[in-house]
């Protein structure tokens, strides 16, 4: 029995995840995301007496780590000391793929190249002499077809073989200019007397990394009081020049190897050019994009409907079963409103999340997602966002939860945080019942206009927030748009289904806990002290409403409205229900609201504005926490929402009074 740990590296869009799925099947630990992999996925394959543990690194173009994703990949390669590195190389774009190879091979780990002959390579009639490639690089090359699993057995055998080899690796040497070689030798020599500081890096490789400008390593050595020869005397311009010399030398090596190995001219005619001309056409590009999104949106929220009905039906049966059993009313309430309500809140999102992820993954696999970003970038960039932010925003009108998860396609941390913070301002479907109630009662015939105004207000607040965050918080964060437009490909239904399954599982595991907990907290607030009517004035929620009411007095809210807001933390649908309880029954709610002297159309408008902006719901909160990955940004996101809601509702109340009259 032997454990072998391998890292799967490669450029984005080369079929890495497909290979990972072929290697590990369903034996995966964490979810698989379309687009950017924020964490490293791990899987396992059992072969005779060997256990192969595979880590799928985020796609990376280079080890200089330009994006947060690439940093994750680089750190794993440099510090985790795997038994072997497998690089997947796309046959259609071998030159740029081999540039990464020239970086990987210098790390000095046992290595195998998986040459992926995609259907596109066949279409373009590209023939690659794998033996020549292998002989040139002195790295074993295995032809595979990731899509159908061809060559996987041979790849596994080769991996085992290279890890069992006792001799140190001896790959092709990159020919750097003479001066660079001399300095590398000088620095390497010096570092060999400080090996303990270098972790897993060899002195020679550490020297190359320093010459390439690895600031992290340099700082670490300086912190230890080392004075690095040459580097410390060099001025920045000279060091830039050296780093570029190294880069050029790497590309020369990859060009040289490519010329020798690729037998057929490549990239002459792109077969998918015609499709591209239509999809990104000057006039049709945007209409096509918008219709695509409209369809995706419709499918996400209508295809999930039958499942929602099914879930509701199941819960009806549960409740019925409970009604047939004698039990303490307190326990009954705990089971019905707490446990079943909590599970329901989690499950209710699952169908649309599954559908959203399957569509997103199909859009990504076909290469259209990159074109969508390409088409929308001009507009999104002008408000401080990224072309890829558009899709999450659109999904947000249906439900913020899958929208926030869809931001995983964004590469820059700044773009991603800004998008996540602003998504909750998209008025999701659950907020509509609140608008319908209040606009209907207080605005009569103008209700439609009021609701439309709220949607537009949400978009305006999102745009202004994005501009503020970009301008004042992330001003110095560069967010250039250097994005590969991957070739159009046929999507694989199976791959999309596998992705969807892991995403859904991930959601249930992570966000589910937070959502379920949140529902239980609100249940407790509505139930305690023991004996009070559920959610009434005497319950903790009612008491809280009265305690916090003074805080909302400047906005004109009475204590019942404040209780509604407290319940709105769970889900916006609950606002209407809880107001129903407080106003003596949902049937009379409309007339009671109209008759309440403490309310007025302006206050109702301010309340709707507040409900639109203050806090999406506990489910969205759960995924915001999960996606931002830390409490600091989660608190900023939530705090910003509440602050903006308060300010905008206040302005609405006072400006509105001028027009509508008190």
């Amino acid at each position: 029995m032997k454990d072998i740990r391998i890292l799967l590296a490669g450029n984005p869009n080369v079929g890495k995840t497909t290979l990972f799925n072929s290697l590990c099947g369903v034996h995966q630990h964490t979810g698989n995301y379309p687009g950017v992999t924020v964490e490293i996925k791990e899987g396992k394959r059992q072969i005779n007496d060997h256990s192969l543990f595979v880590s799928d690194l985020p796609g990376t173009y280079s080890l200089s780590a330009f994006t947060p994703d690439e940093q994750v990949a680089r750190d794993a390669l440099l510090t985790s000391n795997p038994d072997a590195v497998v690089q997947i190389v796309d046959a259609t774009n071998i030159e740029r793929n081999l540039f990464l190879t020239t970086q990987l091979m210098e790390i000095g780990l046992p290595m195998v190249i998986a040459l992926n002959m995609s259907d596109l390579a066949d279409e373009q009639k590209i023939t690659i002499d794998a033996e020549c490639l292998e002989k040139n690089l002195k790295i074993p090359v295995v032809r595979i077809v990731a899509r159908n699993g061809e060559g996987i057995e041979k790849l596994v055998d080769t991996i085992i073989r290279v890890t069992e080899k006792k001799t140190p690796v001896d790959y092709k040497k990159i020919e750097y200019p003479h001066s660079v070689t001399t300095h590398i030798a000088e620095i390497g020599n010096y570092l060999s007397s400080h090996v303990s500081l270098l972790g897993k890096l060899s002195p020679h490789y550490a020297a190359i990394r320093l010459m390439e400008g690895d600031e992290h390593l340099e700082k670490m050595l300086h912190d230890q009081g080392l004075v690095i020869p040459f580097i410390d005397k060099c001025d920045p311009a000279e060091r830039d020049g050296i780093a570029e010399d190294i880069l050029l030398a790497r590309y020369r090596t990859s060009e040289e190897v490519t010329t020798c190995a690729v037998k057929c001219s490549m990239g002459a005619v792109m077969p998918a050019d015609l499709i591209d001309q239509v999809l990104t056409h000057r006039l049709f590009g945007i209409p096509i994009f918008l219709s695509c999104m409209w369809f995706a949106f419709q499918i996400t929220f209508s295809a999930s409907n039958p499942f929602l009905v099914g879930i509701e039906y199941l819960f009806g049966i549960f409740t019925e079963m409970m009604n047939g059993v004698e039990m303490d009313p307190f326990i009954r309430s705990f089971l019905a409103d707490g446990v079943i309500g909590g599970v329901g809140s989690v499950l209710v999102f699952v169908p649309s999340i599954f559908v959203m992820f399957i569509l997103l993954s199909i859009l990504e696999d076909t290469g259209y997602l990159a074109r969508a970003a390409f088409v929308m970038d001009r507009f999104m960039h002008s408000v401080g966002l990224h072309g890829k932010s558009f899709i999450p925003f659109l999904i947000g009108f249906g439900c913020n939860v899958p929208a926030i998860m869809a931001t995983r396609t964004l590469q820059s941390k700044a773009d991603r945080i800004i998008t996540i913070i602003t998504i909750p301002f998209m008025s999701c479907a659950a907020r509509l019942p609140v608008y319908v109630l209040f606009a209907g009662v207080f605005f009569g015939a103008a209700a439609g206009n009021v609701i439309f105004f709220l949607y537009v207000l949400g978009i305006a607040v999102a745009i202004i927030s994005a501009m503020i965050f970009r301008r004042f918080v992330f001003r110095d964060e560069p967010s250039p748009f250097i994005m590969e437009l991957p070739p159009y490909r046929k999507p694989s239904g199976l791959a999309a289904a596998v992705h969807m399954w892991y995403k859904g599982k991930e959601y249930l595991k992570r966000a589910g806990i937070v959502i379920f907990g949140g529902v239980l907290v609100v249940w407790a607030l509505a139930t305690f002290p023991v004996g009070v009517e559920y959610g009434s004035v005497d319950s903790l929620a009612g008491i809280l409403g009265q305690v916090f009411q003074p805080l909302f007095a400047p906005l004109g809210f009475n204590w019942q409205l404040v209780v509604g807001l407290i319940f709105g933390f769970v889900a916006k649908e609950v606002v209407v229900g809880s107001l129903g309880t407080l106003y003596g029954g949902e049937e009379m709610l409309e007339s009671s609201l109209a008759a309440d002297p403490t309310l007025s159309p302006v206050i109702a408008l301010a309340y709707m504005v507040f409900v639109l902006l203050y806090f999406p719901c506990v489910a969205a909160f759960g995924v915001i926490r999960q996606e931002l990955g830390n409490w600091k940004w989660t608190c900023i996101a939530v705090g910003w929402g509440i602050l903006v809601a308060y300010i905008v509702a206040f302005i609405t109340l006072h400006v509105g009074s001028l027009f509508i009259g008190a």
């Binding site: 400008g213 830039d240 990104t280 590009g285 945007i286 001009r378 507009f379 560069p478 590969e484």
Partner: protein, 80 residues
């Protein structure tokens, strides 16, 4: 003028990259993506709203904003 930036390149035409400017991180990234002195770069087209651009370099498609395209100088004479 045969020495122009990619931003000035008429859509559909090509040039041989002669220089890449800009701050270190961005210049380095452009080079890592294969935009190196001597590489042939084709400006395929601009996006419907006028930005970003679709370029072809080393057999693949790369999208760059106007700001990045202005950093890359090409020689159109050699590109013909």
């Amino acid at each position: 003028m045969s020495i122009i930036t990619v931003e000035q390149l008429p859509p559909g035409s090509s040039g041989i990259v002669s220089e890449i400017q800009g701050e270190t991180a961005i210049r380095r990234r452009l080079m890592e993506m294969g935009i190196l002195p001597g590489s042939k770069l084709t400006l395929v087209k601009w996006a419907p709203l006028g930005d970003p651009a679709e370029c072809q370099i080393r057999g693949y498609k790369l999208s760059l904003r106007r700001a990045e395209a202005a950093l890359i100088t090409v020689d159109t004479k050699k590109g013909e």
